[in-house]
Point group: C2
């Protein structure tokens, strides 16, 4: 991923409606949500929602798949992963930065065991 590509993705996420849409789809998982439900849930008019969905699709953050009359949108986790890798690449000259990012990924091992004893294996 180059700078221009990353900037386009970040710019796409840099809008409250689009970020809400993306977060909704990220939390929704691979199953996805159809366009109408997205707009309804976030109170965005159909035309506007479509505009934002097209934008997010164009930069590769989400994808839509038609199922009969509906189009199910879902998050492209790989794009988000690449984006975060781009942002954190060669960072901070070896200092230990990004504790929360580490925490998110080590939660299963360290925090997960301490905070929620019932979930020793699964994430949550």
């Amino acid at each position: 991923m180059d700078t221009l590509n990353a900037a386009e993705i970040l710019s796409a996420l840099g809008h409250e409606s689009r970020l809400s849409i993306f977060r909704l789809l990220v939390e929704a998982g691979p199953a996805g949500i159809n366009a109408g439900a997205i707009g309804e849930q976030l109170e965005i008019q159909p035309a506007t929602a479509s505009f934002h969905l097209a934008h997010l699709t164009r930069v590769g953050l989400i994808k839509g798949e038609r199922e009969s009359r509906f189009i199910h949108y879902s998050a492209n986790y790989e794009t988000m992963d690449d984006l975060i890798a781009f942002l954190t690449n060669n960072c901070c000259q070896g200092e230990s930065c990004l504790p929360k990012t580490v925490e998110v990924n080590t939660m299963t091992k360290r925090r997960g065991a301490a905070a929620s004893p019932s979930s020793t294996k699964g994430k949550k």
Copy 2:
């Protein structure tokens, strides 16, 4: 961090010049780089660079500290960390996504433990 806040930060990064500036500062580490050198290195005119530096500062991604006639800018790693946490929070319904993000943090953890064993004292 709420959605609006995250969107403002993402929007700030969603511009090629600003993203280049931020990445330069992220790689530069805590020492930072002064405004003139940033503009020179990225071939951005002083006024334009100042505009973007102010923007990045306003959203908390970088900070500037005056040292005699120069102003040294450096990255606020905590803001980036919070942003990534926001983006990846409650993601993908338990599926294992974001392999590169895990890899980045695995590397950091391993290198940190091997190179500087005293890094166990947390900031907060």
